[in-house]
Symmetry: C2
Subunit: 412 residues, 2 copies
């Protein structure tokens, strides 16, 4: 027997027909003694439709975040009621619980809530009665009992956090891909599905651009030691297990994957007088505006005049906020110029194994050189190496690096 939390996203429950399919599949896979908790999102386009309704009243409905949560939290409430009815029409006892009823306690930051605590007594009681418990993802309630939604990727986070609070054996995230790949299969056709990946590697992959899992849910899994099984809604085969450490000897490859991110912008502040505190001047101003800075390189421009260049990257979405701030600071610092490049992208390799394997980075650089890809900026972490390159070379780069580290034909 196992206690398993299973999360299905909005597209998996986009119609009553799909809802019935999900219920049938779960019952077909369920062992008699299994305790199943379902975490589901709002049906298909429901959230967008509700937002459109609110926009008929005001062009900027998110200026009323509490009311948006009151509105949007109905989306999951509809899907949990319908999925529960589906289980019951198929003959299995089931009960629906909103985030609040499932004990998801959040802060009061409406539309971007964080889970503070989970009090899962009701869920446990309903499991003990033999119910499949169907919980609304993406939502909880604050100290007043008001509904609060969790923001982007919130349903995954709900599922993993609930699995932690229930001391579940695992949390299964059903999605439209069948696992975590060694590179984005849309870019690298030879990418192979991994059977396992560690939390740290997955976090690094996600941070570096791999889109399957949200950072927060992986962090939650790591914190509560919940193995996360990322698998397909459409097939019954197993996908990728994200866990603390490998259970299998998978020493074949020293890196776990190639990540890439093309939503990057590069900013260069040129000719800054090199006195203490210049890095602080620039980056504290950006931090105050909630702009995350990624790769940073400081290089000497003119050693006699003690003048330096400061180069860094940010998410391209943040450029509109960052540009006036950087311009102002550059002006204050008497810099020569600010250059911005938007046609850049970042390619990275990730793997805990690289700690014990020297020469990994140089193999990456070699593969890029051989493919004719110029490297602009390099940064490294304990378990990753990243290179900034021209955006139009990203497909070439990902495939060259993937071929270097995953030379055989895909096994999956």
């Amino acid at each position: 027997m196992g206690r398993i939390v299973k999360k299905f996203g909005g597209s998996s429950v986009g119609s009553t027909k799909k809802i019935l399919q999900v219920a049938k599949r779960i019952l077909a896979e369920k062992q008699p003694e299994d305790q199943i908790v379902m975490v589901v999102s709002a049906m298909g386009d429901t959230t967008d439709e509700l937002i459109a309704l609110a926009k008929e009243l005001t062009p900027a409905p998110y200026q009323y975040p509490r009311e948006m949560d009151m509105l949007l939290s109905t989306g999951e409430q509809v899907s949990i009621a319908l999925l529960t009815m589906a289980f019951r029409t198929l003959g299995h006892p089931a009960i629906s619980l909103t985030g609040a009823l499932a004990g998801m306690k959040t802060n009061s930051v409406h539309t971007k809530g964080k889970i503070l605590d989970i009090e899962p007594q009701r869920v446990l009681e309903e499991l003990e009665k033999g119910n499949i418990v169907v919980v609304a993802g993406f939502q909880g309630a604050d100290a007043l009992g008001d509904p609060v939604t969790l923001g982007r990727g919130g349903s995954d986070t709900s599922a993993v956090a609930l699995a932690g609070a229930l001391k579940a054996d695992s949390c299964e995230i059903f999605t439209d891909v069948d696992g975590i790949y060694s590179a984005d299969p849309r870019v690298a056709p030879d990418a192979r599905r991994m059977q396992e990946i560690t939390y740290d590697e997955m976090l690094e992959m996600a941070r570096l651009g791999a889109g399957v899992m949200q950072l927060r849910s992986v962090e939650m899994g790591k914190r509560f030691h919940i193995p996360i099984h990322v698998r397909s809604t459409f097939t019954t085969q197993s996908g990728t297990m994200i866990r603390e450490a490998y259970t299998m000897e998978e020493k074949e490859f020293v890196i776990r994957g190639v990540a890439h991110d093309d939503k990057v912008a590069k900013i260069a502040v040129l000719g800054v007088p090199n006195h203490p505190g210049i890095a602080h001047s620039i980056f504290s101003a950006l931090a105050q505006a909630h702009v995350d800075v990624d790769m940073i390189v400081q290089s000497i421009r003119n050693i006699e005049k003690n003048v330096t260049d400061m180069v860094f990257t940010i998410a391209s979405d943040d450029l509109v906020v960052a540009k006036p701030i950087v311009d102002q600071v550059a002006n204050d610092l008497n810099a020569i110029a600010v250059l911005i490049e938007e046609d850049v992208a970042k390619v990275s390799i990730v793997g805990a194994g690289m700690l014990g394997s020297p020469g990994i980075a140089s193999r990456m650089f070699g593969a890029l050189a051989e493919a004719g890809v110029n490297i602009d900026v390099i940064s490294t972490s304990e378990i990753s190496v990243s290179c900034l390159i021209k955006a139009d070379k990203i497909k070439t780069a990902v495939n060259a690096i993937h071929a270097e580290f995953f030379p055989s034909k895909p096994a999956a």
Copy 2:
């Protein structure tokens, strides 16, 4: 200043345009010191659409009443969020509260819940902050916190009960008619709007077929001494005030109104041996099946054989349940025959004043005789007289009686 609960039904909030109209109207009428609580239903057809979704899963979704409540309670949650946004876009502070957050405590009879208690602290706190408080009608939560809907007419009941708990000055029910009329204006064109009516008269009118207000909400108003103002969504003129006693001297008319009900069926059990307990045999079997029996007449068929006829009426909707029960009991009692008539209707006069005015009933019978309407069965209460007649005579009957008791031209 006044503390006023205002209830708007689903058709009044059927679109964001109508929601905005409601908000504008409320703000235009509001005095600076007024404390306003809005109670609203689900938008237009929302409830029907949600029921249709559930029916895609099962032909009989109400077999899962708890899940239907989980599903249907989202309807009002959407409308309270949108109406609150409308108030805020118009510049007035407002906050939405579900039934649960407004402290509506119900029993656990899902889809037909009853309000057990109201704990209105949150509503009072939000009023003190200067908010218009927008509460979801038709719903509350049971001891577990699970959503429970109140069944037919539930929004009116929510509004009046909440007004009672808040010790409000009045409860305004906005509807598609502009008040309570002396007869149904669709049947009797000379019907006039009443300025006032007592709770007891309104209860009797509702019991006898007048459709504007649900019995439960009037009972609630009577219990908590809350004046209920029934008025039009579409105009700003005042409608009819339902209260304990008249504030004005309205002695002009001895009766308050003519009610009629054409959803009536007559059942006659003929030739029953007249021994003690036969009434009990028939009516206890019907009571067990939740069939309400209205007019009852027992008459001697054959005094020598001591054989009697038992005639009574029920709501025609109950006929499908009642018929096999009556047939069985008639068979057990050795009755001669069971006759059922569906082409019958009931016309009634209501007025507290008739207690002190003899001859009222005979004036009614006279008016019917003059109009050529035959009376089949008569029943009376302290403040009403009802006659069962042929259904095709109902319009003639209502108008004849109305002309007898309200002879002048309508003043409204």
